[in-house]
Structure formats: C-alpha cells, structure tokens
C-alpha cells in the first residue's frame, strides 16, 4: 500500500511517500502500526486532533476500512485559498 505524507507530517517522517505492508483493517489500525515504526513516525502521529486522512484521494474517517484501498495520505488540516 502506498502511504503519502504532506506538510509537517512529511517533515517529521522524512519522506513524502513509502510502501507499507499491512494487515490493518481500518485507518486507525494503520496509524497504530505506522506510529510504532520509529521516532519520526511516532512524532508525526502524536497529534491526532490535527491529523486528516484521504483514501484514494477522498477524505475519510479513522474508522474507514482499508479493503481495496491503494493510496493512503496523511496530512494536517488544509490551508488553501
């Protein structure tokens, strides 16, 4: 599964994209797995209030299932405009 990071999540983790092998059933499960990987990941996922997720480029909740999903993106609240 492709996992993408943007803004300060990308900076804390150090890469903007990585391939992750996972059996996680939901976004929340995947977050637990990623946060346990190393210090950078732990720091990136420490503030869950400011964490947003998109599954195959559509916004989703943490309870969303990952079955069939190819691309997961994590990022802080958007600041466009």
């Amino acid at each position: 599964m492709d996992v993408l990071y943007f803004a300060w999540l990308r900076e804390r983790i150090g890469v903007n994209r990585e391939k992750i092998e996972t059996q996680a059933a939901t976004v929340a499960d995947l977050i637990e797995q990623l946060a346990a990987m190393d210090e950078g990941h732990a720091l990136a996922f420490s503030d869950r209030v400011s964490l947003r997720v998109a599954l195959d480029q559509e916004m989703a909740g943490f309870d969303a299932p990952l079955a069939g999903v190819r691309e997961v993106a994590f990022f802080p609240p958007m600041t466009g405009g």
Binding site: F6, A54, F75, G81
Partner: protein, 152 residues
C-alpha cells in the same frame, strides 16, 4: 469552467479579461484574488505544498457544486503551489451569473471550500524562520453556512 493548479505566476488582469469574454452572456462577474500578505514585515514569502491529483479532483467537485447550486454561467479557479514571493497572487476565483447575489455567493462558497477542503498546505518563509500556517477555526466555521439544516 477552467481550473488550473500551477506553480507559475498568473496575470490577474489577463485572466479577468479572458473570463469576462467567455462570460459574455452573464450580467455579473465576481473575482477573488489572494495575495501573499506581509504580516508586519516579518515575511519573505511562502511555500505551498499540494497533493497532485487529489487537488484537481477536489476543486473540480467544488466548482461543479457551485455551478449547479448558484446557476453559474461560468467559473474559474487558479491556485498556485511552490515558492511565492511577497505580494504575489496565490490564487484567484471568478464566477459569472445573471445577477450579482449568486455571483457573490458562489465566489464566497468556493473560497470557503478552497480554504479548508482543497489539499494545500502553506508554509510562511520568515526572516526569523519558517512556520506552517495553522488552519483557522473561523475557516472551518465559515463552511457551516453552506450546509443544509437549521441556521442560527
């Protein structure tokens, strides 16, 4: 309708004129332009990160929503990413409708959605260092006025 997510600068005047020509049947055109604003002299510029693919999809969906909801005859969104200098235009929105109320409402609707629902992240490049711009609570609140249901 025209949508462009680009790193290049754009010419507000040229875009406005081109839009007005296309919108010739409309009676009202509203444009919004966002500029890199100097916050009291501490800013050198801005870095804008985006999510290629999702950005275009999200904005196209917003524009289609605005078009039907406000019966627009045309709409335009240009949004830049990458490195921007002080006072440069960041983005613009234009809407065309028969009457002014809908043109204004649609431009505000698109701005409210772009602020909080288009995958861009702004980083201020300051003289004292850099900082990610925080989402403002009032931007999230502003979205509430467009959702159906009871209003205060």
């Amino acid at each position: 309708m025209r949508l462009s997510v680009q790193s290049a600068a754009f010419d507000l005047g040229a875009e406005s004129n081109a839009f007005a020509v296309r919108a010739a049947g409309a009676g009202a055109i509203v444009t919004f332009t966002g500029l890199v604003r100097d916050n009291g002299g501490a800013l050198r510029g801005m870095e804008i990160e985006h999510y290629p693919g999702m950005t275009e999809r999200a904005i196209a969906a917003m524009m289609e929503q605005a078009r039907t909801r406000f019966t627009l005859t045309d709409a335009l969104v240009i949004h830049r990413f990458g490195t921007l200098r002080l006072a440069e235009p960041i983005m613009m929105v234009a809407t065309a409708a028969p009457h002014r109320a809908n043109a204004f409402a649609a431009a505000e609707f698109l701005m409210d959605y772009l602020k909080s629902r288009a995958p861009f992240w702004k980083k201020e490049i300051g003289l004292q260092g850099n900082a990610w711009v925080s989402a403002r609570d009032e931007d999230e609140t502003a979205l509430g006025r467009w959702t159906p249901g009871p209003r205060s």
